[in-house]
Structure formats: structure tokens, C-alpha cells
């Protein structure tokens, strides 16, 4: 119930009038400035054509992660031994030892292949044992500040890392796993590439990284022949990767120049000989005792194709020739390779 006490004499006078006019013109003037001031004026929000509100993708480029090595050291080392630790040592010693590549204080990113939710025995993913040994080396021998492990699997990322045994191995050795989620990607610019000149890349684990090492299994691949060191970088990309298969060889050749890793390690301990890249039957896996380490991914992949997958040299995947043409490396490995057994 309202009382008539609310009705008061009208106080409207000149002062009040001026105050209200001033208030109204400040509001309208401010709004007019924001809406119509030319676009280069401070605080201008004018967007007459709509061009200003097109979001600018956050882009980045990858630095060259390679290190300069003293001359006379072979680029590719092959280690043969019964134990993982033994063959890794032999392969790395052939190219000058791991301490050549990673110095104290480095932040190292390892990129294994964790693409599928598979047991390590099936050869579809990187061996957890190798990762564990490698991380220990990096943290203890090289005194790296931090070792990160990242991949963008095809299946559920959290699950793939667990089921492949990699999560356990990495955490045991003291590394850190970075899982991809919706906010972890940014557009990567690769100037020399043909098809992935700008493509979403798993960006978050790369922040602050000084060295990158690819750790890849060697496996058969239904479409491109074989998936080895270069194809491993596929897992760093996001977006609609399923379009890549329309021209997979050009894509892999692009991958060979997209990133210049410090080091690439090919694990020849469980080689998936057929039904790749998923495998699925232990009978498809050939156990062996080889590890390949080196800096020329193209030569390493070509060597592994012939010597590990035991395919005919004349049938080398087309992407290797394309990668060579783009400057990703040289197929011919003679005089650059050292085998220790």
C-alpha cells in the first residue's frame, strides 16, 4: 500500500536540467566515439566491414632444434645388443654420445608414438622400456632440467598413455606427460610445406622446450608403406588429420621439414611387419635387437625400411624421395652410418 507521503514537490530546475543534459551527452558522445571513431584512434571499436572481428589465429613457428656437431662424427648410429639399455648406448655412442645433444638445463620434449590403445607387445606404439631408459639418461647423464612426453593419439589420449604402459614408465623415470585437450593447440606455420603450411599443432608441451627427440617404432603402414621416424611427427598435429590420407606421401614429406628435431631414435626391438599401423596380433611382430639413432630422418627411415622391415630397396616409400627433394635429408646413408654390435 503506497502512501501519499511519497509525493514530493517537483525539484526540477535549471541546475537539474543542465546536469541531465550533461549526463546524456557524455553517454551518447562516448558511445558515438567508440562506434564511429576511425579504426586507428585509441579505444575505437569501429568495424564497418566486419574485417576487424575476424579472429586472428594464434600462430607460431618451430625453431631449429638441431645442435651443431663436431665434424667427422657419423650422422647415424646403429646399436645391436640384447638389452634395451645396451643397444641404446651403442647407437648413441656411435654418433658421439647423448651428452653431445642435450646439455645441462635443457628442457627436452620426447615424442613417442602412442597413437593407439594397444599393449606394448603388439608393436603399434613406442616401447615403454626404451622411454624409461632414455628419460633416465636425459635426467641423470645429461642433467636435463625437465623431460616432457607428449603425443596426440588417435584414440582417447588419457587411455592410450595408460594402456601402452608409457604413463607408468615415464612417471617412474621422472618424466612428465602432457595430454592434449581443446586448449592445447595453435596454428603452426611451416613455410616450406606444401599442404600443411599452417595447421593446428599440439603447442602446449612445446612452450619453453629447447631440445626435441622423436622416439618412434618401426611399423608397416597400409597406405604409405611404412611408418617410422618422419611419420611419427604426425602425432604432433591436430585438426582434421583424416584428410592427410588423400595425399599421404606429400604430407609425410612436409612433416620431414616441419620440425628439425635434435635427434631421432628408431626402436627396432618390436617391428610390426604387417597389418599396420594398428597391428593387433603378436604374430605380426618381429622381435629384434636394433636401435637406430641419428639426425637424418630420411636416411634412417630408408635404412630401417630395407634392413628392419626387410623390404626391397627399389620399393622405398615415395615420401622418402619427396622428403629428399624438399631438403628433409638424404636417402643415401653410405659413409654417414656406423654400426656397433
Amino acid at each position: 500500500m503506497k502512501n501519499n507521503d511519497d509525493v514530493r514537490p517537483n525539484k526540477f530546475n535549471r541546475r537539474e536540467f543542465l546536469k541531465r543534459v550533461a549526463f546524456a551527452s557524455t553517454i551518447c558522445g562516448g558511445a558515438t566515439y567508440l562506434a564511429w571513431a576511425p579504426e586507428d584512434y585509441p579505444f575505437s571499436l569501429k568495424d564497418f566491414t566486419g574485417a576487424r572481428s575476424i579472429p586472428e589465429p594464434q600462430q607460431f613457428t618451430l625453431p631449429d632444434y638441431r645442435v651443431t656437431l663436431p665434424t667427422g662424427i657419423p650422422e647415424i648410429g646403429i646399436g645391436r645388443d640384447k638389452t634395451t639399455s645396451g643397444r641404446l648406448t651403442k647407437a648413441l655412442d656411435a654418433i658421439g654420445g647423448i651428452t653431445q645433444f642435450v646439455q645441462p638445463g635443457d628442457v627436452v620434449l620426447l615424442k613417442p608414438n602412442v597413437a593407439f590403445d594397444r599393449s606394448p607387445e603388439l608393436g603399434a606404439t613406442t616401447s615403454p622400456e626404451l622411454l624409461e631408459v632414455l628419460i633416465r639418461r636425459l635426467l641423470i647423464d645429461c642433467r636435463a632440467q625437465e623431460v616432457r612426453v607428449a603425443d596426440n593419439p588417435i584414440e582417447s589420449p588419457a587411455d592410450c598413455f595408460v594402456k601402452t604402459g608409457i604413463k607408468k614408465a615415464v612417471e617412474k623415470a621422472g618424466g612428465r606427460i602432457n595430454l592434449p585437450d581443446g586448449n592445447a593447440f595453435r596454428i603452426l606455420q611451416t613455410p616450406g610445406a606444401e599442404l600443411i603450411r599452417s595447421w593446428p599443432c599440439f603447442y602446449r608441451p612445446l612452450i619453453g622446450v629447447t631440445k626435441v627427440i622423436g622416439v618412434a617404432p618401426v611399423k608397416d603402414h597400409n597406405l604409405c608403406g611404412a611408418s617410422m621416424g618422419i611419420k611419427n611427427w604426425y602425432g604432433l598435429l591436430g585438426g582434421q588429420r583424416n584428410q592427410f590420407h588423400q595425399d599421404i606421401h606429400t604430407i609425410i614429406a612436409d612433416l620431414s621439414i616441419m620440425i628439425k628435431p635434435t635427434l631421432t631414435i628408431l626402436d627396432g626391438s618390436k617391428i610390426l611387419m604387417r597389418n599396420g599401423p594398428t597391428g593387433g596380433d603378436p604374430a605380426y611382430v618381429k622381435p629384434w635387437d636394433v636401435i637406430v639413432a641419428g639426425t637424418d630422418q630420411v636416411a634412417m627411415d630408408a635404412w630401417a625400411f630395407v634392413n628392419l622391415l626387410q623390404r626391397d630397396e627399389s620399393k622405398l616409400p615415395q615420401y622418402l624421395y619427396l622428403a629428399e627433394k624438399k631438403g628433409g635429408g638424404k636417402i643415401d646413408a653410405s659413409n654417414r652410418i656406423l654400426e656397433v654390435s
Binding site: F116, D117, R118, S119, I154, E155, S156, P157, A158, D159, F161, V162, K163, K167, L179, P180, D181, G182, N183, H221, N222, L223, Q240, N242, Q243, H245, Q246, D247, I248, N275, P277, T278, G279, G280, D281, Y284
Partner: protein, 525 residues
């Protein structure tokens, strides 16, 4: 001066512990944490779940027998569960307290018994009758199933978003996933928000008027060992005991045992210390043990149940001739009509699924009967080979507990073959190599079966621009395909994938089989 260690404070501690436990198990049972195991406990002591699935199937699945604990508790102490343990009850009480802006007099009026409180008994009778006929719908209103469904499909997404924005990704419910989606979560959320908001209008409206579990426990608490007693000699009929009465159970008059949820507030509020929770004293106050259900209520509810079941069934979605091709159930699921006898729509399977492929069913796949039961949507995710989490968490056996070995048909399950969810097909008019002379075969690459269930016709052709291309045109080998759906998930024709899975050929049903026999390579076997 009230002591700190009084019954109401102990009750609050119990409520906080149980709500915390509920939310913690939801969080902790993600695939990389403790893998789903203990989260079903709340549903396994849920007497309504046990009773309705026993009525529908004639059996008590796995750990549902633990609900005897709740039976015992209720028979001895009344509806203690509702106000000491039920996490949804705690949320109701909390929001009722939060929204409370009324005077003492208004609150007393609101907490008087209302005749509409009898509705919940009718709901219970209807749900139990249609369960006995063969469709379990208790999950729509059962407090634990309802809360878990809302948490799994709504609150978890909000939590994950906030944790992602604030960079606490390790606290997320589902770390390492991109934006999880749950189809129809708006409606699930609307039900949840509605029953919470109803507390503004009337405190604990859901518990007093709708909750079928509360009704069941109410019917069981007619002769409890312990109950609230009112000393008539001390009582001055001041009605203060009504001020915070959670159950609206008439403590000021003849206490309605089936409505009293033992919140103990009346004991706190009585200025004369006339009220106590104890064994019956020598002189006992009058009580009304039986709820106000009349014969009319019984007949009415019975009729609805009787006509309700055939009406729901005649919708025709569980029929073996008219089933939806999209009705693809999780691995280990029992045949559709059996499934509907067991699934309580709690959405635990949907929450633990690491690839987000499990979605609440909408009306188009299963009609009203299967609303919010789990269904696989392969545009969102796929069923991972080495995972059978959904079958571990299912409290009622709608998804029977299976091991990965059984799912894949390895070891001693070899003769049964793998569990098939459906069968993949290739739509040749949308497939890039078939229809557009463009190489692709992502589907074959990702096919996890060994040997691959997708093979190709290889052809070298000159495309329309004169380039020589090798086309690998995929086809499905249904004998090998398990319907995992990764081909559909990864197909680059993303809106309506050229490789797609439909329900036919699922191994849970004889009637929905596709092949007369599964061909094998004679040399390998």
C-alpha cells in the same frame, strides 16, 4: 546453551561425508585413476534399484544384495537414509536452507503435512508395476540415479570447463579430452535444476512429494525400533518443532512415521525438551505409521501401471523389426528387451567412457522407454579395444561385466568370437575413392581388427584432371567387423560419414544377427 555434539550436528557431518564421498568417487573413477570400480556403491545399496530390477528380471545382480543394509537401517531407524546419507537429499536441504527467507510462522505453515505428499506412493506403485511387466523406469526419478546422471552429463562438463580455464587440468574429471559432449544434457539438466528450484517454492518438494525411493523407505519404516517421541506432559503445543521439519511429518501432532526423515531438527527446536529419538518409552505418544494411501490410490496407480506398460511398449522401438539402426549398445549389453528390464539410466557408463562415444539416448533412437539409456554415437567417439569400463560400473547388469579378453574373443572366449556392437558399412556414394576418385582409406588404417575388417579393391585410374592416381576402394568384411566404429569416427566425410556402423549384426541378440555363419580362412583355423 546447546551442546556442539548434538544429533543435528552429527547429521550434518554425515551428510557432508556422504555427499563428498559421492562426488569423490565420481571424480576418482576416471579411466586413468581407479578405473570406475567403487562408484556404484551408492546405487548398489539403493533399495529401489534392487527391488525394481528383481521384479523385472527375477534375479539380484552382482552387488545389489548390499541393499539389504539399507533395508535393515530403515526397518530399525526409519528413513534415516533420506536425511543422513542421500546426496540429493543433502542438496535439497542445503538449497532449502539457502533460499529460506521466511518468517518462523510461514515456515511452520510450509512444513505442515500436505495431502499431495501421497503422490510419491502412487509414483512408486506405478514404477513397480511397469517394472514387473518388463520396463524399468525408476531411474527417471530415483534420487541417486537422477543425481548421478545430472552430475555426469552436466555438472562434470561445467567443472571441467572451469578447471581448464583456470589451468587446473589435473583436477578435471576427464583430463586429456577435448570438449566432451552429452546429447540431450539440456533436458537432463532442466529436470535437475527444476527439482532444486522447487525448494524455493516449497522446501524439499522433491523428497516429500516425488521421490519413489523415499516412498519405498517410508513404507518400510512403519514400525521402527527407534523413532521421534513427544512427551505429552512437557509439550505446550507451541508448534516450534515444525519450524525446520524436513519431512513435513507432523511432529506437533500424531507423527507420520513414513514421512519422518529423522532430521532431528525438532529435538533441537523444542524449548521444553519434550522430543527425543529413542526406543519406545512406557507412555507413548500417538503416531500414524501408515501413509495416507487409500484404496482409490491403489486402484488408480495400478490402472496407470497396467495401461502404461503396453502404451510405452507399443511405441515399437524395442521391437526386433522396427529397431533404430542407431540403437547401438555398449559391449556386454544384454539383448534389448532384457536391457530395458535392467537399465536405470544412471549414466555411470556414459561418464567413465574414455572416448565420449557413450551418449544418453534421445527420443529418436529408443522412444520414451529408452530415454537417457546409453547409446553409442560414432560421430563423437569410438569403442576402444582394450576397454570394458562401462561393463564394470553398471550396477544392474544391463551391461554385463565382461573382461577385455571376452570383449575381443581371445583365449577361452575364442569359440564365441568377439562381442559385436553392430556392423560397419561403406556408403559408396559419399566415399572419396569410390565416388570422387580421391585416395583416402583412413578407415582401413585405423581398423583395429587383425586381420583388418576393411579391405580394398585397388585400381589405378586417370582422374578427371588427367592425373594418374591409385585408388584403394574400401569394403567391409562383416565376418571380422566388431562394430567398434573407429572407421566412422575417423572418416573425413565428417557430417555423414561414408563409413558408418549400424546396429544390425550385434552379437547380443539372435534376432538382430546379420550373417548365417562367420567365414574364416580355412588355412588359418
Amino acid at each position: 546453551m546447546k551442546t556442539l555434539l548434538r544429533l543435528t550436528n552429527i547429521r550434518i557431518i554425515s551428510q557432508v561425508v556422504f555427499l563428498g564421498l559421492f562426488l569423490f568417487t565420481v571424480w576418482a573413477s576416471w579411466t586413468t585413476r581407479i578405473q570406475g570400480y567403487p562408484v556404484s556403491r551408492f546405487l548398489e545399496i539403493d533399495l529401489l534399484v534392487a527391488l525394481s530390477t528383481t521384479l523385472s528380471t527375477g534375479h539380484i545382480y552382482r552387488f545389489l544384495g548390499w541393499s539389504i543394509l539399507l533395508l535393515l537401517l530403515t526397518v530399525l531407524f526409519g528413513r534415516v537414509f533420506c536425511n543422513w546419507m542421500c546426496p540429493l537429499g543433502t542438496l535439497h536441504q542445503f538449497s532449502g536452507w539457502l533460499f529460506n527467507i521466511r518468517s518462523v510462522k510461514e515456515r511452520q505453515d510450509q512444513n505442515r503435512y500436505q495431502p499431495r505428499q501421497v503422490i510419491k506412493y502412487s509414483i512408486l506403485i506405478i514404477l513397480l508395476i511397469i517394472a514387473a511387466f518388463g520396463t524399468v523406469q525408476v531411474g527417471l526419478l530415483d534420487p541417486i540415479a537422477l543425481l548421478h546422471r545430472s552430475v555426469a552429463t552436466g555438472i562434470s562438463v561445467i567443472w571441467d570447463f572451469v578447471m581448464s580455464v583456470t589451468s587446473f587440468t589435473h583436477l578435471q574429471l576427464a583430463p586429456g579430452t577435448t570438449e566432451r559432449i552429452f546429447t540431450g544434457s539440456f533436458w537432463i539438466g532442466l529436470v535437475f535444476v527444476s527439482i532444486i528450484v522447487l525448494n524455493i517454492w516449497h522446501p524439499r518438494f522433491f523428497c516429500r512429494t516425488l521421490c519413489p525411493l523415499g516412498a519405498l523407505l517410508g513404507l518400510l519404516s512403519v514400525f521402527p525400533l527407534f523413532r521421534i517421541h513427544r512427551d505429552m506432559k512437557l509439550c505446550t503445543d507451541c508448534d516450534l518443532c515444525l519450524t525446520r521439519c524436513e519431512g513435513a511429518s507432523s511432529p506437533e501432532g500424531s507423527l507420520r512415521l513414513s514421512e519422518c526423515i529423522v532430521c532431528m531438527n525438532c529435538i533441537d527446536d523444542c524449548p521444553e525438551n519434550a522430543l527425543s529419538f529413542s526406543l519406545p518409552p512406557h507412555v507413548s505418544t500417538p503416531v500414524s505409521p501408515v501413509p495416507d494411501i487409500t484404496r482409490r490410490h491403489f486402484v488408480f496407480a495400478g490402472l496407470i501401471g497396467l495401461i502404461g506398460f503396453p502404451l510405452i511398449r507399443s511405441n515399437g522401438k524395442s521391437n526386433d523389426a522396427n529397431y533404430s539402426p542407431l540403437m547401438i549398445r555398449p559391449p556386454g549389453s544384454v539383448a534389448e528387451t532384457e536391457f530395458l528390464k535392467k537399465c536405470i539410466k544412471c549414466a555411470q557408463c556414459i561418464r567413465v567412457c574414455p572416448t565420449n562415444v557413450l551418449q544418453p539416448t534421445g527420443l529418436q533412437e529408443g522412444g520414451i522407454e529408452a530415454l537417457w539409456t546409453p547409446v553409442l554415437n560414432f560421430n563423437v567417439g569410438h569403442c576402444q579395444q582394450k576397454c570394458s569400463l562401462c561393463s564394470y560400473v553398471c550396477p544392474t547388469g544391463a551391461i554385463r561385466e565382461i573382461s577385455v579378453t571376452e570383449k575381443l574373443g581371445f583365449g577361452k572366449f575364442k569359440q564365441h568370437g568377439p562381442i559385436r556392437l553392430g556392423t560397419a558399412f561403406i556408403n559408396r556414394s559419399r566415399c572419396l575413392p569410390w565416388a570422387n576418385e580421391i585416395p583416402c582409406i583412413v578407415c582401413q588404417e585405423v581398423c583395429p581388427i587383425a586381420p583388418k575388417a576393411i579391405q580394398t579393391y585397388d585400381e589405378e585410374v586417370k582422374d578427371t584432371f588427367g592425373n594418374l592416381v591409385v585408388l584403394n576402394k574400401p569394403f567391409i568384411i562383416p565376418d571380422l567387423c566388431t562394430g567398434c566404429g573407429i572407421c566412422q569416427k575417423e572418416c573425413p566425410v565428417t557430417d555423414q560419414p561414408a563409413a558408418y556402423v549400424t546396429a544390425v549384426g550385434e552379437s547380443r541378440s539372435q534376432e538382430r544377427r546379420l550373417l548365417l555363419r562367420y567365414r574364416t580362412n580355412p588355412e588359418e583355423s
